[in-house]
């Protein structure tokens, strides 16, 4: 039984409403005052950072369970509740969302086309993301999930680049296909429980038969897995990354893909533990293929964003592998990896954004020697790449090590294969770093100034987070673990 502690003050609702208010305020500002729009966006993003940080810090890990809970009946006939809460699994995700939003707004500071619409859509997207992360009601999870998916299409098609129509369309179709699997699964569970409720905790205790769990789990796994970039449903993600504008790539790779993994964890694994056991072998297999496959393809890419896109496939494979182990260590590692991968890719795309803005290319062959021209801007990309390689003292390392230990125990052969995959990861990451930043100075770009301090802020924040949790992993791991131990106890 999961302990629940009602909130004294509705922090989570306030967090959600902050974004809604931001959206409304932006809507009422005349479009030509784009400076003001950016300032307002930044202001509200700052508030969300403060709130989520406050929640993160004040969450009592010794008590564990759900805290800051608000639960109201919404639709009685269907058993829909407005039920939000925070535990060790979604708190890091909320923090991640707010950090990526804040740094994303900062990264888009030099945006000039249709500023108002851009930030409005971005806030709409983020409302959905926050909603999924904090809800404990299946109905709301699904609604927020679709709210988060829809704005991606205009954001990519209007502000994107490289094959944006194709990328946007592909992404939308894939993700809607995912929804089309999730909705029937949710309804199936709702009918089979006979409780007439969408409350996640109640459904968890409903005790579905094994048969039901097996069917529901695979649908939920595939549905959410598409968003998490599970092999072989990953191809939308690199294409989408490449097409999307910088901040959207950041949110997309940094947060949206986590939504998928979070869905598998929170809905699939939580409601159908026996289904998980039935399908775990498959999950581990797909995850391992993803890790190795993504790394190999990353080696052949010539576009910076494609490289990061395929590295995401590989890194999200590690999350999947961690989930499939069904052990405390594996889940700890998986959630930690979700967080650090989010920060890392945000840092990647933020850095690429600056490079692309100034050089108007993201093809590796056309760049080269950038370290000489913009040492600071390059340094941040290199930090992200080192994090991707899994260098100690950057947070990904801990996540990977935890997942790998658990994986070798649960699935020796696949675990060892996945570990071997990191050699390929280091090969392709360092190849990109070398070709883009090292080598003789490229005279074509010699006039470009290094990134000014203000524009570097988002990268400083992101790199600082990677380093902080890399040096002091317990700051996040203790929080995650407080939720993971009871979670695994349910298997």
């Amino acid at each position: 039984m999961i302990s629940m502690e009602m909130a004294n003050f509705p922090f989570l609702t306030v967090l959600l409403l902050t974004n809604l208010v931001a959206l409304l305020v932006i809507m009422f500002i005349p479009p030509e005052r784009d400076k003001l729009i950016k300032q307002v966006s930044l202001f509200f993003a700052g508030i969300t950072v403060v709130i989520s940080l406050y929640l993160y810090v004040t969450y009592d890990t010794s008590k564990g369970g759900l805290q800051f809970v608000e639960r109201y009946l919404w639709i009685k006939s269907l058993g829909v509740h407005y039920f939000v809460g925070a535990d060790g699994i979604n708190l890091p995700m909320l923090l991640l969302t707010s950090v990526v939003l804040f740094t994303g707004v900062l990264t888009m500071w030099e945006l000039e086309t249709r500023v108002k619409e851009f930030f409005a859509f971005m806030y709409l997207l983020v409302i959905g993301v926050y909603g999924v992360f904090m809800s404990f009601d299946l109905f709301f999870i699904f609604v927020w999930y679709d709210v988060a998916l829809f704005p991606m299409y205009p954001l990519i098609v209007i502000w994107g680049s490289t094959r944006k129509e194709y990328g946007g369309m592909k992404l939308t179709l894939y993700l809607l296909a995912g929804s089309a699997l999730i909705l029937p699964a949710i309804l199936y569970l709702w009918t089979k429980s006979g409780l007439n409720t969408f409350d996640l905790i109640a459904l968890h205790n409903a005790g579905f038969t094994k048969h039901v769990q097996i069917i529901a789990f695979i649908m939920l796994y595939l549905g959410f897995g598409i968003l998490a970039g599970v092999w072989p449903f990953h191809t939308w993600s690199p294409v989408g990354h490449v097409a999307a504008p910088t901040a959207v790539s950041m949110i997309h790779a940094g947060v949206l893909m986590k939504l998928g993994a979070y869905g598998i964890l929170r809905v699939g694994m939580f409601l159908c533990p026996e289904g998980l056991q039935y399908w775990a072998q498959l999950m581990a297999l797909l995850a391992t293929i993803g890790i190795v496959y993504g790394a190999f393809i990353g080696l052949a890419q010539n576009d910076l964003k494609y490289v990061v896109g395929y590295s995401s496939v590989s890194h999200m494979g590690i999350v999947g592998l961690g989930l499939a182990t069904m052990s405390v260590g594996g889940l700890n590692g998986a959630v930690f990896q979700m967080f650090s991968h989010g920060v890392m890719t945000a840092l990647f795309f933020s850095s690429i954004g600056y490079i692309y803005d100034k050089t108007h290319t993201k093809m590796i062959d056309e760049l080269g020697g950038l370290s000489k021209i913009m040492p600071v801007a390059s340094a941040f990309f290199i930090i992200a790449a080192l994090c991707g390689v899994g260098v100690p003292c950057l947070s990904s390392f801990w996540a990977e090590i935890l997942v790998f230990i658990a994986a070798v125990k649960a699935y020796p052969v696949r675990g060892i294969l996945a570990i071997c995959g990191i050699v390929i990861t280091s090969l392709f990451m360092l190849r990109v770093v070398m070709k883009t930043f090292y080598g003789p100075k490229n005279e074509k770009y010699a006039h470009i100034p290094d990134v000014p301090l203000f524009l570097a802020t988002p990268r400083i924040i992101l790199a600082g987070i990677l380093l902080l949790f890399g040096l002091f992993p317990r700051l996040i791991l203790d929080v995650i673990q407080s939720a993971v131990i009871p979670f695994v106890g349910g298997f």
Binding site: P232, G329, F397, L402, V408, G415, V423, S426, F437, P440
Partner: protein
């Protein structure tokens, strides 16, 4: 807590200061070169003082002292961070601190005026931090973490001149190749963790391991962990990264290839020596690898023309000796050779650095023609280093090699001893080939270097000079402290394990061995003298009469070619290509096909909406008819 326990305080200071210095330099003081280098050198000197204090304080320890703080708690897995103070770790800590400080001081001269001066010192601090924290690690996980960080720091240092493609290539190669070994090591450690339950070094070395883990599994995990040694210490077949790593600045080569990065592998072998001795097969494997490495790299050194390459190959071959010694059970001799090698190899590199800095070339034939022997101090110091390297009495290398030979002689299979002795000839030959060429140039070019001395270079040369003198004097006297060294190192080892290895006991009966070794060295030197030293020598090695073999050696036994080929065939045109095509054609193609199919079927279905009422009614009636029939049936 800190005040009460000076040892903990000293450990913390030693380990933390270089890291703080790294952060400070990289974040704040990059613009001020003088501040950066003072911070870095100050930090490493304080660390050195603490390390020496710890070395002295720990000399009477009977039991290793451990401090641990749980850094990560994840389920049952606890990853601690802390310090293990025992004789081996303190010895290594002092070696590392000494070499790192000398190299940093030397770099003041060598790197002066370089645009990346501050960055250089930041990376040096990072490296020192990683290396020293690794040295004192109480658990294998911490060891592995800092082992990886050492790899990172060396990647940054080797690729320091990032504007040169070759340098950044070399950095990448070093990182990736050592990583291959690290993956093996990590898997080995995970196996150990899963079967034994924790990875504390004291625990892994204890006799309890053999009881809990079945013997074949010990062998497997020991060999996997040894893969880490193969990568880091550049053993066969992963030795190809090390010669390339010479692309870094010369002081970096001195640092990486004397006492630190490459010695880390041997240090780990020594650190887990009791564990490795639990499996005779693993030791045999190590012996084999060490021997192959030693012979291969000696042959490569015989034909190299680049001064740094010669020392690089000699490093690889000396590491091979250390691994052989440990593989044959000679714990003390392996560590003793590591210690003496740290001194004389750093000396050789730093001396070469002076020549390279002065003549702007790496080819020692060219240097010699331009009058290298006129630089008195480095030339004398380099000769001392070379004498030690080839094992001439009374320099330190003589004693340590002697003790390795004794260890090999005690092994039942004498083939290893034969290989070791053969290696002595090769070492003496290639070392003195270089020395004689430098000392006795065939023809002299007109030199005009004397005028090129700039103002203020005097102080720089002085800064670069005195680390040489310190190292040279250490090299001269260190050998005589063999007994003390053995006492210090074995103090705890004997107490903890109660067994004295045969290698050390057999020391007395080895007079014939000493004589053989000395005469073999003499043969090597004599051949070098005949070919390169004596008046009117052709300065062409006997190998030049065998072009096929010379080419084989010069091309590093085609190992690089093989790896390049394997990388291209298996990774780039193999997996990468297949997977990429699969992604484009099969997965994406399938999805795009599905989209087109949907569109097409929609188009076909749209013909049904033909706006012709009679067809619609006809279809309706037909369908209703079918339904009615099926109900009737």
């Amino acid at each position: 807590m800190f005040v009460k326990d000076p040892i903990l305080l000293a450990c913390t200071i030693t380990v933390v200061l270089p890291f703080l210095s790294f952060l400070t330099i990289i974040c704040y003081t990059r613009k001020w070169e003088k501040v950066s280098c003072s911070i870095s050198i100050g930090a490493i000197l304080i660390s050195l003082i603490c390390a020496i204090y710890l070395f002295i304080a720990s000399r009477h320890f009977a039991e290793p002292l451990q401090y641990k703080l749980p850094w990560i708690i994840s389920g049952k897995t606890i990853i601690p961070f802390g310090f293990l103070v025992d004789h081996l770790s303190m010895l290594m800590l002092v070696i590392v601190a000494v070499i790192a400080s000398l190299v940093q001081i030397y770099s003041l001269g060598y790197m002066a005026g370089d645009p990346g001066f501050s960055r250089y010192y930041a990376f040096q601090s990072l490296f020192a931090w990683a290396m020293m924290t690794m040295t004192v690690a109480p658990s294998m996980i911490q060891f592995y973490i800092f082992w990886e960080l050492v790899g990172l720091a060396s990647y940054l240092l080797i690729g320091f001149y990032y504007e040169k493609w070759s340098a950044s290539q070399a950095g990448k190669k070093a990182f990736v190749v050592t990583r291959i070994g690290d993956v093996g090591m990590f898997i080995g450690l995970v196996i150990l963790l899963l079967f034994y339950g924790n990875l504390s070094i004291v625990g892994v070395n204890s006799a309890a391991v053999a009881k809990q883990i079945p013997a074949p599994l010990i062998t497997i995990s020991a060999i996997l962990i040894f893969c880490g040694v193969i990568g880091k210490s550049a053993q066969f077949p992963l030795l190809t990264w090390l010669p390339d790593a010479m692309e870094g600045p010369t002081p970096v080569s001195a640092l990486l290839h004397s006492a630190t990065m490459v010695a880390a592998g041997v240090y780990m072998f020594a650190r887990l020596f009791p564990f490795f001795s639990g499996s005779a097969d693993a030791l045999q494997f190590a012996l084999l690898i060490g021997t192959i490495t030693m012979v291969l790299s000696s042959t490569m050194a015989m034909v190299a023309r680049d001064i740094k390459q010669v020392w690089a190959y000699s490093t690889v071959s000396q590491l091979g000796y250390m691994v052989m010694a440990l593989g044959a059970g000679g714990y003390v001799s392996g560590m003793f050779h590591l210690t003496t090698h740290a001194g004389f190899k750093a000396l050789l590199f730093l001396c070469s650095g002076v020549f390279i800095h002065h003549y702007h070339t790496n080819d020692f034939f060219v240097m010699s023609r331009q009058g290298a022997r006129s630089l008195k101090v480095p030339m004398v110091c380099m000769t001392i280093g070379a004498l030690a390297l080839s094992g001439v009495f009374p320099f330190s290398g003589f004693f340590s090699k002697e003790s390795i030979m004794v260890a090999l002689a005690s092994h039942p299979n004498k083939i290893w001893l034969a290989a070791g002795l053969f290696g002595e000839v090769l070492t003496a030959y290639y070392t003195f080939r270089l020395i004689f060429v430098m000392l006795f140039p065939k023809e002299m070019e007109e030199t005009h270097h004397e005028e090129e001395h700039h103002e203020g270079e005097g102080i720089l040369y002085w800064l670069m000079g005195w680390p040489l003198i310190i190292l040279a004097s250490v090299t001269c006297v260190l050998g005589f402290f063999e007994k003390q060294f053995e006492h210090y190192l074995l103090g705890d080892y004997i107490l903890a394990h109660g067994v004295e290895h045969g290698a050390e006991a057999a020391h007395a009966g080895g007079h014939w061995l000493t004589i053989t070794a000395i005469s073999l060295v003499a043969i090597g030197v004599a051949v070098a003298w005949l070919e390169y030293g004596r008046k009117g020598a052709s300065q062409e090695g006997f190998l030049s009469r065998m072009p096929a073999i010379e080419k084989l050696f010069a091309r590093r036994w085609y190992m690089d070619h093989f790896y390049r080929w394997a990388l291209d065939m298996i990774i780039y045109s193999g997996f990468t290509n297949i997977f990429t095509r699969n992604d484009r054609r099969v997965i994406d193609g399938g999805i795009d096909g599905l989209c087109r199919g949907t569109e097409g079927s929609g188009r076909i279905a749209s013909f049904l909406q033909s706006n012709m009422v009679q067809y619609n009614i006809f279809v309706m009636v037909a369908i209703l008819g079918f339904v009615a029939l099926s109900f009737l049936g």
